[in-house]
């Protein structure tokens, strides 16, 4: 009797893969359309969910966090980024610049999140997360 082959690609696998990709695309489309486009945008810096600082995205500025690690946050030309960090790995610095609402740069070791939000900020985020 031939054993059920568990190693060869099957139709069910294709369905599973397609389902995951479809779910990802649906989530992506949802988060892009729900994000309030246009209007005034601000950069909000959070640490462990607590708002540390709010900066307008259309004004150049800098903000330095000195905690477990140091994060230097810079706003320039309508974009925001963590440009310097003393954290291991520096994933936050590699994340680059953000300008669209609900995009964020995260420094996990420092529990810091830099988020671009519409002025009615909290609503935008909830609309995506709901």
């Amino acid at each position: 009797m031939k054993k059920r082959d568990e190693l060869t690609f099957r139709k069910g696998d294709g369905i599973a893969i397609a389902a995951v990709i479809l779910a990802a695309l649906a989530l992506l489309a949802f988060s892009l359309t729900a994000a309030g486009r246009g209007g005034k945008r601000v950069v909000r810096v959070y640490q462990e969910g607590e708002l540390l600082r709010e900066m307008p995205l259309d004004e150049d500025g800098e903000f330095l966090i000195q905690d477990r690690y140091e994060n230097l946050i810079r706003v320039r030309d309508g974009k925001a980024a963590i440009v310097e960090s003393s954290c291991p790995g520096e994933d936050c610095v590699h994340s680059g610049w953000i300008s669209q609402p609900v995009r964020s740069v995260v420094c996990l070791p420092n529990r810091v999140e830099v988020r671009v939000e519409g002025v009615s900020g909290a609503d935008d985020v909830d609309a995506v997360a709901r």
Binding site: T8, F9, D13, A16, V20, A23, L27, D91, H94
Partner: protein, 167 residues
């Protein structure tokens, strides 16, 4: 527990940690600048253990790998991520393995997707933020590709072992 099983599990744990170490030398985050993007090479071992041994063995290997990894790197935050993602992933793979229509490929991709969800869940809890959810679609897409790579590796090894040592 038989000595042979114990030894196999110990070797697999060591192998998973070595793969994790190799993986850290591949700068994938330069190509795809998102935090938490990984190839998931060590998941090949989990997948292998799930098929060659059983799910409790896979869980033991996974836990040992995460604990030892955190011990060596000294990174406790990473422990929360790897354990939460890993356990969710293993649970999904064990469940998917029971589905008759799925082979290693589907199981691996679903495991990767569950791992991504676990990562995002941990991040949401740690950061008290729901906006991180916006990362999930990107992680899922990359995870699907990585899940296929993992499946290719695991099925290759399993097939070679099956034809070599018949039983």
């Amino acid at each position: 527990m038989k000595t042979k099983d114990l030894t196999t599990m110990a070797i697999l744990t060591a192998l998973a940690m070595a793969l994790g170490w190799v993986e850290r030398m591949i700068p994938l985050e330069l190509l795809i600048p998102l935090p938490g993007v990984k190839l998931g090479l060590a998941n090949t071992v989990t997948l292998f253990a799930l098929y060659r041994l059983n799910w409790p063995a896979a869980l033991l290997i996974l836990t040992a790998r995460c604990l030892l990894g955190a011990l060596f790197s000294g990174n406790v935050t990473a422990l929360a991520f790897s354990l939460c993602g890993g356990v969710l992933s293993l649970a999904a793979m064990a469940a998917a393995k029971r589905c008759r229509g799925l082979s290693v490929w589907g199981v691996s991709v679903l495991g990767a997707a569950a791992h991504n969800c676990g990562q995002i869940l941990t991040a949401m809890l740690l950061m008290h933020s729901r906006a991180i959810l916006g990362y999930l679609p990107y992680l899922l897409l990359i995870g699907t590709a990585c899940g296929c790579a993992t499946a290719a590796a695991a099925s290759g090894v399993l097939r070679a072992l099956r034809s070599g040592a018949a039983g």
